[in-house]
């Protein structure tokens, strides 16, 4: 039998970069989130400095550490909510009940060897009525989609800024590898009779450490 053709140089380089295949073209409709640009620029700047003779690399850059987020890691992913497109418009809030939302994150590209070091839910809300104010007092609750207990509760005092909730240790066990998909049910309940809010954007910032791509710092001196 003919031996399989040796992979071309591009395929070998791709595999060396830990990517199974070349992704298809970039989605035209998806801008690069500012947080990812910021992390890249900060990292790029540090690596350029590490390359210069003046700064010893170990001092300038800790391998496998995301300085800006202060956690271990060598892969950062910004995962959009898959549920947004399928989300039905919320019913008008009746009898004081505010709507719940289901968000879905596809994590099938995360490899089993990767260890999560930060799982941050990023949410944006808007007041349901333009005339309603953006200040007030709400309580965000996060649960697994379907039945299940509330895994996380967090106070929200304003709607104008992004709401961030750390899920590691709450909706995601610390040493567990990534599920193929993470489905959550969110609710934002007003503490005092105010108007319900509307979920306008949901995403997940996932930081993982792939130990196979890390090696210890310089060997200890004998």
């Amino acid at each position: 039998a003919r031996a399989p053709a040796a992979p071309g140089p591009a395929a070998s380089l791709l595999r060396a970069l830990g990517l199974s295949d070349a992704p298809r073209d970039a989605p035209t409709s998806r801008p690069v989130p500012p947080v990812m640009w910021r992390l890249f620029r900060r990292r790029d700047h540090q690596e350029a400095r590490a390359g210069s003779r003046r700064t010893p690399p170990a001092a300038a850059l800790r391998p496998c550490h995301v300085e800006e987020l202060g956690v271990a890691g060598n892969i950062v992913r910004h995962v959009p909510d898959r549920g947004a497109a399928a989300r039905r418009p919320e019913p008008a809030s009746a009898a004081g009940q505010c709507p719940e939302w289901t968000v879905v994150f596809d994590l099938s590209t995360v490899e089993p060897a990767e260890r999560p070091s930060q799982v941050r839910l990023e949410l944006r809300f808007a007041a349901e009525e333009a005339s309603a104010g953006m200040a007030g007092s709400w309580e965000l609750s996060v649960a697994r989609a379907g039945s299940g207990p509330v895994l996380l509760r967090q106070a929200v005092t304003a709607l104008g800024t992004p709401v961030r909730a750390e899920l590691l240790g709450a909706a995601w066990a610390r040493n567990a590898s990534a599920p193929r998909s993470l489905r959550l049910t969110l609710a934002l309940r007003p503490r005092a009779p105010t108007v319900c809010a509307r979920l306008t954007e949901a995403s997940l910032l996932l930081v993982t450490l792939d130990p196979r791509l890390c090696h210890p710092l310089a060997r200890p001196r004998r």
Binding site: P9, A10, L13, L17, G18, L19, D21, A22, P23, R24, D25, A26, P27, R30, V32, P33, M36, W37, L39, F40, R43, D44, E47, A50, G51, R53, P57, L61, P63, C64, N74, I75, V76, R77, H78, V79, P80, D106, S108, T109, L213, C214, H215
Partner: protein
């Protein structure tokens, strides 16, 4: 783009040579967001004396490579010359879209040769 090898062989003393990897050249420019490419460089050159004596940073050191070079100058057929290899490397980070439309930032160690040395 690579700096041409000297004299088609490994002439000249061991040093860092320029090698630029362009993502456009391998057709990845549509899914790699940044950078457009990176200066990977490579090492080439002879490690005979006195090149084997000089270390990146200019501080002469006695090590295995120097012993081999000394042996080679005394008995050329014995152990051969030391090799010209990366002595100092830097990491790079790549920002790209994966197949799930996630924006991914990956960090790769030891991707850029900053300095070469004889080993």
């Amino acid at each position: 783009e690579a700096e041409p090898a000297v004299g088609g062989g490994s002439g000249g003393a061991c040093r860092t040579r320029r090698l630029y990897v362009s993502f456009r050249e391998v057709g990845w420019h549509r899914w790699v967001i940044a950078p457009r490419g990176f200066l990977a460089n490579y090492c080439q050159g002879k490690c005979a004396l006195p090149a084997a004596l000089s270390e990146p940073g200019g501080t002469p050191a006695l090590n295995h490579a120097v012993l081999r070079a000394l042996m080679h100058s005394a008995a050329p057929g014995a152990a051969g010359l030391p090799c010209c290899v990366p002595a100092r490397l830097s990491p790079i980070s790549v920002l790209f879209f994966d197949n799930n439309d996630n924006v991914v930032l990956r960090h790769y160690e030891d991707m850029v040769v900053d300095e070469c040395g004889c080993r």
